[in-house]
């Protein structure tokens, strides 16, 4: 029964997250074939996840079930690694070297920077909240 509950919680989050990513991939489709959709989903997800875990969770007293739905389910499925490898292979096959290198660099370096930024943002927001509470 507990397992079924976990399944449903993650399922709902993943259902929404994957469709946001799918929607973006359709929205940002260009004739050049550059995978803007995957990039937007991955970078924004990498930024929001640490902010959720290290700030929003405490700030809004989110339950562990809510966190499971939002982090493992929604953001876990909103971002994707497998599609990134497929995009990389497709760009390599088409011989678009500039697009390939640009895509690889932004994904590899950008995702890491976004995650660091998400952590810093969470810490600074938490500090501002703490300082404001101190004034009362």
């Amino acid at each position: 029964m507990q397992k079924l509950k976990t399944f449903l919680i993650i399922f709902i989050g993943a259902f929404i997250g994957s469709n946001l990513r799918y929607g973006e991939s359709l929205l940002f489709k260009t004739s050049s074939g550059f995978p803007y959709g995957t990039l937007v989903a991955n970078l924004s997800g990498a930024l929001i996840l640490p902010f959720l875990i290290h700030y929003l969770q405490d700030r809004f007293h989110l339950s562990s079930k809510m966190i499971l739905a939002l982090s493992t389910g929604l953001l876990g499925s909103y971002t994707t690694f497998s599609t990134f490898t497929a995009d990389t292979y497709r760009l390599y096959q088409s011989g678009s070297w500039i697009m390939l290198i640009t895509y690889l660099t932004i994904t590899i370096v950008g995702g890491f920077i976004c995650a660091l930024l998400g952590n810093y943002l969470a810490a600074s927001r938490a500090f501002v909240d703490y300082a404001e509470r101190g004034k009362d």
Binding site: I10, A14, S18, S82, A86
Partner: protein, 113 residues
């Protein structure tokens, strides 16, 4: 209809990812080995699906849905940032390099199999 195909695939993939990640927490390894394995296996599987499945809906279910939901980029980068803040730079770099190199190779092997 596509919304349900993608959503169902991702729901199953994400649940499977969670099961595997919880399982790995019982084995005390100081390295995010399970996310690494999940991303490599997911990329490999997507390669196989892309090469052999020609039905558009089934590929949407297994590829964009299941593999997309099973693998994760957000968690991987969050784990990377945690290793970075813990000043475990060797582990951080190793996780970084292994994910991208073996992950991309996994897809290439899968699609050419």
């Amino acid at each position: 209809m596509s919304v349900f195909i993608v959503g169902f695939g991702a729901g199953i993939g994400a649940f499977l990812r969670n099961e595997l990640t919880s399982l790995s927490q019982k084995i005390k390894v100081d390295f995010p080995i399970m996310t690494l394995l999940i991303n490599i296996v997911g990329a490999f599987a997507l390669g196989i699906f892309t090469a052999h499945i020609h039905n558009g809906s089934l590929l949407l279910f297994l590829g964009t849905g299941f593999c997309g939901g099973f693998t994760t980029y957000g968690t991987m980068n969050m784990e990377l940032s945690q290793l970075w803040f813990q000043k475990r730079f060797v582990r951080c770099f190793l996780y970084f390099a292994l994910t991208y190199i073996i992950g991309i190779l996994g897809f290439v092997v899968g699609i050419n199999l």
